[in-house]
């Protein structure tokens, strides 16, 4: 009896490899617990950079446009006749986590250079529950006003902390510092001196809510903490993003006419809820500059 059992067991042991050899391959993910995809579709919400970075070897070309105040009414075609600001920008992905960029905006003829580095990514297995990046921007005003180069410089630096809450909703909190080497001491229309601050500290808040596969609503709010320049206000933008296979179109109403984070935090003078907002849009197009594909 014992011998029969031993022989039966041996047969089973011998048969198992044959059976196994005929089985399917085990389905294994290439990167289990990898990074969460697409917290935001574009590298910026409106003026705030997002944690979304440009892939290595890719060039993200941005046209950012904003018009005059909608409150100008039909005479001003709801701002379209007003003074428009426009910024052309290029951001290039150097590595998986680092991009650099340059841009130029019409107001104050500001040229700026910027960089963004992803410190770590949110992971699909929840091991890292949020994503963190740092972003910096250095601008130089090129208006002909007699200032030295050093006096023309302005800076923005932000820590970007974001989380994709679910497939539809992503949120981002961005403590930031804005600094202008020189600020103007103007008089208001009553002849009173307008106090300007060189440095502002703000906490940018941004969110995206994907309402359809290719459409999302977005919000950006940049409240300044502590002292601030007179007659300035916290910038607020509400927008709609459309994601096609090649472009991201961002259309928004925004209180700020400025286009970098340092200008948005320090120099916005319009109050959204008082009706002082303007229409704007941003077009993002990505190009592959490598020959790999």
């Amino acid at each position: 009896m014992t011998q029969r059992i031993v022989r039966a067991l041996l047969l089973v042991v011998m048969l198992v490899p044959v059976t196994t050899a005929n089985a399917q391959l085990e389905r294994q993910l290439a990167d289990p617990g990898g990074s969460v995809d697409e917290l935001f579709w574009a590298p910026s919400i409106v003026t705030l950079p997002t944690v979304t970075n440009v892939y290595p070897g890719n060039l993200n070309f941005t046209i950012h446009h904003s018009f005059g105040l909608v409150s100008g009414g039909v005479d001003e075609l709801f701002g379209l006749d007003g003074a428009a600001n426009i910024r052309f920008g290029f951001d290039y992905g150097l590595t998986d986590n680092l991009s650099i960029g340059v841009g130029r905006e019409r107001f104050d003829k500001v040229y700026d250079a910027r960089a963004k580095w992803n410190v770590f990514h949110q992971t699909t297995d929840g091991r890292i529950p949020f994503e963190m990046a740092v972003a910096g921007d250095v601008g130089v005003t090129t208006l002909k006003n007699g200032l030295s180069f050093n006096d023309r410089l302005n800076y923005g630096a932000a820590l970007l902390v974001a989380r994709k809450v679910n497939d539809a909703v992503s949120i981002q909190i961005s403590p930031l510092v804005s600094h202008f080497n020189v600020v103007y001491r103007d008089l208001d229309r009553f002849g009173n001196p307008v106090e300007q601050q060189n440095t502002h500290v703000a906490v940018g808040i941004g969110a995206r809510w994907k309402v359809r596969a290719r459409m999302a609503l977005s919000v950006e709010y940049v409240p300044v903490l502590g002292s601030r320049s007179d007659n300035t206000s916290d910038a607020l933008s509400l927008g709609v993003d459309l994601n096609t296979f090649g472009h991201v179109f961002q259309m928004f109403f925004t209180s700020t006419q400025w286009m970098t984070m340092q200008h948005s935090a320090a120099r916005n003078q319009d109050r959204f809820w008082d009706g002082d907002f303007r229409f704007g849009f941003m077009v993002n197009r990505v190009f592959n500059l490598t020959n790999d594909y």
């Binding site: 011998m14 044959v18 050899a21 005929n22 391959l25 579709w41 190009f287």
Partner: protein, 185 residues
């Protein structure tokens, strides 16, 4: 008693040899790529994954291949992300084929041989019966595989993406290349 033991021992030896032979005729990928080509008017782009996994078991004609769709790269990161969303990779991470080799294969011949497989191809949660032809070329201890076919996205409930207002052609050219080596018994 002695006879029964001898028969048992021979049986076990036979099984051992069968196992060895089955394993020796079982080829698994050491390197493999899968490529798709999409086209819209005046524009064409390709995506490639170098993570094609597969096996061909000559003994029982089993053919089994899969890729993790998140490994597909088109050269533009944004497009890769959009593609993963279009394919709903989070829910359906793999494209896979399981079937049988229906043509004969002589692994002792170094010549390229036409190979025909029939089986189930699954992507985006939809499985369809397909017949795919390609070539298999024995290279010593290895098999070289090349195959291509056309995949219609709409047949797999995948909505073709749009470049602005232009829809990507639902018919995608798929090609795979792999070197498969005998698996150690």
């Amino acid at each position: 008693m002695m006879v029964r033991w001898t028969i048992s021992a021979l049986g076990m030896l036979f099984l051992c040899l069968s196992t060895y032979e089955a394993a020796a005729q079982r080829f698994v990928t050491r390197e493999g790529t899968a490529t798709f080509t999409s086209s819209v008017p005046l524009h064409e782009f390709s995506g490639t994954s170098t993570s094609l996994n597969g096996l061909i078991s000559v003994a029982d004609s089993t053919v089994d291949f899969f890729i993790d769709l998140s490994t597909l790269r088109t050269g533009i990161g944004k497009r890769d992300r959009d593609m993963r969303e279009t394919l709903d990779v989070k829910t359906y991470p793999f494209a896979e084929f399981t079937g049988k080799l229906t043509s004969s294969l002589d692994i002792s011949s170094p010549k390229a041989q036409e190979a025909r497989v029939e089986g189930n191809f699954s992507v985006h949660g939809v499985t369809r019966r397909v017949v795919i032809t390609g070539t298999l070329t024995p290279r010593g201890e290895a098999l070289e595989l090349e195959a291509s076919w056309i995949l219609n996205l709409e047949e797999y409930d995948i909505e073709p993406p749009r470049l602005l207002i232009v829809k990507v052609d639902p018919e995608q050219d798929i090609s795979i290349k792999a070197i498969l080596h005998t698996q150690d018994p």
